[in-house]
């Protein structure tokens, strides 16, 4: 007779042994719709409207608390981040970054490396690069869905709409109404397209169209110089395009810390085929037809509203921020007033009837981009976890100052906490002394080995108690370096403590070590 062969798994990263043995057929399942007795009169304990990173985070935590959970995916499992945002853009940046590296003959020659045939012989296939992004998105989406299913979360395919009655969500596809004790709104956001701009997603596109990389334009205008615009300028210039930024505010990269923005201007703009206009609006953007007519961009002065210049480019990307995706989800019926689409919440993520002096709507929560607190995927997820904590009766508030953010240009920019300008204001207002210390990539062995000595890490701290207030990094792998700082901000670690913590040598982390030590009068090297 045959026996069923068993096997060992070589690593220890493992889950319940039951999962290994084919003789045990299933892992313990969660209660589903049918046996939702503990939900009382409701179908579920928790319904989450939206299946982006925020909704996913909330669902995982909900299941971890053994709450019966359903997620309305709105036919968009993974949401913006996974399908049209952070994830596929990382694929484009990874591919284009390699092209940039391999075409940089000067840089390579310092390593003693030459590419036969020179920079021109480094070829890439636009479709191949675009496919990489698409496949990555699909894969991450599959993993995300798989984890929900495996944990026993029910996925409703349609879009969830509030019915106007408390505890009810209607599936717009089937019309079926589901009930839950608590409802978490996580509808996310969509790209903002300013008035006057016509988007055809081919020659004039938002990040949604840009991620498909339908062409490598000779010249592309990017309207808006925030994270998204900056990342795409990195992709485009690496692949051979020239870029013009159109920024409505007086400074380029207005949301960044000024010092970091200036450094970024040198590293990411000035040395690249990029120019920019600041203080101007793209008042009229007309799509073109590839090979027939260019995209026309009329620009007006942000203050005087007078026409200043017209550009004729091959493509225009609209990266002027994002607006909440809260239309047509029954908010009005539920008596909720939004402001520019944003849903008002208190710090526990409970939905308020309106922004100023609104009352808590019982059993209704809102996380992620739709509440506008911090439009980042991991912030949404953190808010989702926090909402579940509060649902379980354990009061919890997300410390948004401790949520890091990163821009994945080459080199990367990362930050946690307020900008220096904001910190100065805050210190003056709250009456404490701001301290500042800096570490330099140029003084870091690992960075020098990589021939990437450009960049700084600056630590802003409260001199009175030593606590880290904010950290801003621009330089190689900044996005990976910021975590230590985010943890410090979250835990209230002091620069005195951090300066005594040992950093691995030789690693890029020592840039931070230098800054922490500098803050307390020690030298790192």
């Amino acid at each position: 007779m045959a026996t069923t062969m068993r096997f060992f798994i070589a690593t220890l990263l493992l889950a319940p042994t039951s999962a290994f043995s084919p003789s045990i057929t299933t892992t313990p399942r969660s209660p589903t719709l049918l046996d939702a007795s503990k939900c009382g009169n409701y179908d579920y304990d928790v319904i989450i409207v939206g299946c982006g990173v925020g909704g996913h985070g909330a669902a995982l935590h909900s299941r971890a608390q053994d709450l019966s959970t359903a997620v309305f995916s709105g036919r968009d499992v993974g949401g913006t981040c996974v399908n049209r945002g952070c994830v596929p853009s990382k694929a484009l940046l990874a591919a284009s970054g390699r092209v940039r590296e391999m075409q940089n003959e000067e840089h390579l020659s310092e390593f003693g490396i030459t590419v036969e045939g020179g920079a021109q012989s480094v070829k890439f296939d636009r479709e191949g690069v675009a496919n990489h992004a698409k496949q990555l998105a699909n894969r991450v989406k599959g993993n995300l869905e798989g984890s929900l299913v495996a944990l026993g979360v029910d996925i409703v395919e349609g879009k969830g709409i509030l019915t106007g009655k408390a505890h009810e969500v209607k599936d717009d596809a089937s019309g079926k109404v589901y009930t839950a004790k608590d409802i978490i709104l996580a509808p996310g956001s969509i790209p903002f397209v300013p008035p006057g701009v016509t988007v055809d997603e081919k020659t004039v596109y938002t990040s949604d169209g840009a991620l498909e990389l339908q062409s490598i334009p000779e010249w592309v205008a990017i309207i808006g110089s925030g994270y998204i615009g900056l990342e795409f300028s990195d992709v485009y210039t690496a692949l051979g395009s020239e870029v013009t930024f159109i920024e409505a505010l007086p400074n380029i990269m207005p949301t960044f810390d000024r010092e970091i923005a200036k450094m970024a201007e040198r590293l990411l703009i000035r040395d690249r085929p990029i120019d920019y206009r600041t203080g101007v609006f793209a008042s009229e953007v007309t799509p073109g037809i590839p090979g027939e007519k260019p995209v026309t961009i009329k620009m007006i002065d942000a203050k005087t509203k007078e026409h200043v210049e017209t550009l004729e480019v091959d493509a225009a990307m609209v990266a002027t921020g994002r607006v909440p995706n809260t239309k047509d989800m029954g908010l009005e019926d539920a008596g909720i007033e939004t402001q520019r689409g944003f849903i008002a919440v208190n710090e526990k993520m409970q939905v308020l009837t309106k922004h100023d002096g609104g009352e808590v709507v019982p059993g209704l929560w809102c996380i992620g981009d739709a509440n506008g607190k911090m439009m980042l995927a991991h912030a949404a997820s953190a808010q989702g976890i926090s909402a579940i904590e509060n649902i379980c009766g354990r009061e919890h508030v997300v410390n948004h100052d401790a949520i890091p953010a990163a821009c994945f240009t080459h080199p990367e920019i990362a930050m946690v906490g307020p900008t220096e300008e904001q910190a100065i204001e805050r210190a003056a207002k709250e009456g404490w002394t701001l301290g500042k210390s800096q570490g330099n990539f140029r003084a870091n062995s690992k960075a020098l080995a990589e021939l990437e000595g450009n960049g700084i890490a600056k630590v802003l701290y409260n001199k009175d108690n030593g606590k880290v207030v904010a950290v801003h990094i621009i330089g190689l792998h900044a996005a990976d370096l910021i975590q230590e700082c985010a943890n410090a901000v979250a835990a209230g670690t002091t620069v005195q403590e951090l300066s005594m913590m040992v950093h691995t040598h030789p690693t890029l982390c020592e840039v931070l070590d230098e800054a922490f030590k500098g803050a307390v009068g020690m030298s790192a090297h």
């Binding site: 070589a10 091959d314 002394t433 500098g518």
Partner: protein, 675 residues
């Protein structure tokens, strides 16, 4: 603002009208960088103080709150005093860190004559810590740059002069500018396992290797690679395959001893958790039988045997599809039953491949995913590659639109070229950076792009004879003479070459071979000389094949020394024995016409059609030249005149001159020819 009294410095005597900007970088701890206050020098740490004193800095120092990047800004309070006296001021190399002694100007962001506003970045300086922008501290006009890009200056040294007004630029640049020494800015550096149903199994001892659940969320896994092949013996604890899950790649080990009889899920294929991926036989003898059994496991929805298919194998019968693979064969053989892996079936359906026509290469002729892919790629019409890029559209920019890319604009501004005078070659007729470079001469006019060359040539002509109107048509012959060929003579010293020749003559090396080798070596460094002009552009010949023009009765023949740069001279010399094949006189990429043996002192050769260049080699002549080392103060040298004639459409006079210089270098140091 508060003032600290100096103890070591006589403040009254040394109080200077100058505000010494002390820029404090972020790491400073003695001084609070957030403060903006006036201090005196003893407030500074001793070693820093001596450093400042070394720089000649005394008196009240204006300590700025450091707004990055480094600002060399005089203190507001004192600045007016300075301005009254001066027609200009200086920009000095700032100290960007405490350890910085000198700084290198990476780039100037302003050119001489440019207006500067206070607070505007004017240069990038590289220190031991970082590259930083240095900002102007006062408005003015950049009069003169003293430290150029790439040059270094000591901290405190003047790197540029700034004029207060545009009229003063010349005066300041001449040195009449700053009457007061500018302050040196000092910076302190600052699955659930879905088990299949019962399976009718062979009557001997074997085991199934199932896809393991490597994480709690894993539903299916991909076999990255098999570490064992069919027929291999496995021992318990040995790694047998690598599986990729949603979390990581992991080695999967065998639990029992046995033999890998059949691999069901091939490399790169995916299987659901709990489904068998391989069969392990206890005895080697059972392998063939297990293989046959594995083939039945592979799929077969409507199989005669009561085999339960893996869940994914419930695919609907493959659609009749247009894309059909080449040879139908083995897989379909088993009585019309299709034996294919689940993934293969799924793929076939997705890709529209008729699975019954696909030849299986897996165990037992099973159709694998790779087979489907091959079938789809080979049989089907692969997405056609895009047609050649369409010609650039005709487009007239709207009024006021500057049709130039950002880099083109920037470069034109720097080079002071009017963009409207340049014809663009970019999308919609836009001026690209290459177009500007061509206009500046930095780049050769589009190597072979005919219209551009002519445009450039007409400009040259106009420069040469201002009386000529470019718009007027040129007489064709004249035009051709002026533009199509360029002929550059040069003298080459022959002593070293002759010496070498004398030493190797006995080995059978010929002058022609040596000369060909030398020319080929020089061409290696100037590939444009080896190019040919074609309508569609310059064609760079890959090989360097030197044709030697030889006069024969009634004409000329050009036997070719192929790959002359790569081959040994001796080998080259033995090249022509017997009759020449067409390839041996047609394949030349560059021609040498040697008339030295006739005592010709100099001549021009006619460029044969299709060639980029021809080198006319005249005789060697002796000259007496001054030489300090020689006994009589002079020596005898031999020189040979060569004249390079080349196709001026893609090869320029400068190219020719540079090539000839290289050739001279090679001839003067000919030892490399024998290597």
């Amino acid at each position: 603002m508060k003032s600290l009294r100096a103890s070591g410095v006589n403040n009254r005597r040394h109080r200077s009208p100058l505000a010494l900007p002390l820029l404090v970088a972020q790491t400073s701890r003695q001084l609070n960088p957030m403060d903006c206050r006036q201090i005196t020098i003893d407030a500074i740490k001793p070693q820093r103080r001596s450093y400042l004193l070394r720089l000649g800095l005394r008196g009240p120092l204006a300590l700025h709150s450091h707004h990055p990047p480094i600002q060399c800004r005089h203190h507001q309070r004192h600045a007016p005093l300075l301005r009254a006296k001066r027609r200009g001021h200086q920009i000095t190399m700032p100290a960007l860190s405490s350890t910085m002694k000198e700084g290198r100007v990476v780039s100037w962001l302003k050119s001489e004559g440019d207006a500067i506003e206070a607070g505007e970045a004017i240069m990038v300086v590289e220190s031991d810590k970082a590259d930083m922008d240095v900002e102007a501290f006062e408005d003015g006009f950049l009069a003169k740059i003293l430290t150029g890009e790439g040059e270094s200056a000591e901290v405190g040294a003047v790197v540029a002069l700034v004029a207060s007004s545009e009229e003063d630029i010349a005066a300041v640049a001449d040195g009449g500018g700053a009457s007061a020494p500018a302050a040196a800015p000092v910076v302190e550096a600052a699955a659930p396992a879905a088990a299949s149903a019962a399976v009718a199994q062979p009557e001997f001892d074997f085991s199934k290797l199932d896809m393991p659940a490597l994480s709690s969320t894993m539903k299916e896994g991909k076999v990255v690679s098999w570490l064992k092949s069919e027929g291999d013996k496995v021992e318990a604890g040995e790694a047998i395959m690598v599986v990729e899950s949603d979390k990581a790649d992991m080695d999967v080990e065998a639990f029992e001893d046995g033999y890998v009889a059949a691999i069901i899920t091939g490399e790169g294929e995916t299987a659901l958790v709990g489904t068998p991926v391989a069969l392990i036989a206890a005895n080697e003898a059972d392998i063939p039988a297990l293989k046959a059994y594995a083939a039945t496991l592979g799929g077969a929805p409507a199989a005669a045997s009561p085999v339960a298919a893996a869940p994914a194998a419930t695919a609907a019968p493959a659609k009749a599809a247009p894309k059909v693979a080449a040879a139908p064969s083995a897989a379909a053989s088993a009585g019309g039953r299709v034996v294919a892996s689940p993934l293969a079936k799924k793929m076939a359906q997705e890709m529209g491949v008729d699975i019954s026509t696909v030849a299986g290469t897996g165990p037992g002729g099973r159709i694998t995913a790779a087979d489907i892919q091959n079938a789809a790629a080979g049989g089907g019409a692969a997405p056609a590659k895009k047609a050649a890029a369409p010609s650039k559209p005709k487009w007239t920019p709207a009024p006021g639109v500057i049709a130039a890319t950002p880099t083109a604009r920037a470069l034109a501004k720097k080079a002071k070229i009017d963009l409207s005078s340049i014809q663009g070659t970019g999308e919609f007729g836009r001026v690209t950076v290459d177009d500007v470079k061509m206009a500046t001469g930095e780049k050769k006019p589009a190597r072979g792009l005919l219209p551009l060359v002519f445009r450039h040539q007409s400009r040259c002509l106009k420069d040469l004879s201002p009386s000529l109107e470019c718009n007027e048509p040129f007489p064709t012959t004249w035009w051709l003479r002026l533009t199509v060929l360029c002929s550059v003579p040069a003298e080459i010293e022959m002593d070293a070459f002759n010496e070498l020749y004398q030493s190797v003559k006995s080995k059978g090396v010929t002058v022609s071979a040596l000369l060909a080798k030398a020319v080929a070596k020089a061409i290696e460094k100037h590939p444009i000389i080896n190019s040919s002009f074609r309508e569609e552009g310059t064609y760079f010949n890959k090989d360097i094949n030197i044709a030697m023009a030889v006069a024969i009765e009634g004409g000329l023949i050009t036997p070719v020394l192929k790959y002359a740069n790569e081959r040994d001279v001796l080998d080259l010399g033995e090249n022509w024995k017997g009759a020449l094949s067409p390839d041996e006189y047609n394949s030349g990429t560059f021609v040498i016409s040697n008339m030295g043996m006739f005592g010709v002192s100099q001549f021009d050769a006619i460029l044969p059609k299709g060639m980029g260049g021809i080198l006319a080699v005249a005789g060697t002549q002796e000259y007496i030249v001054p030489c300090k080392k020689a006994v009589l103060g002079m020596k005898k040298i031999s020189k040979m005149t060569v004249t390079l004639t080349c196709d001026h459409r893609q090869i320029y006079g400068a190219d020719a001159a540079m090539f000839l210089k290289t050739l001279n270098d090679v001839m003067m140091n000919p030892s490399s020819l024998m290597k």
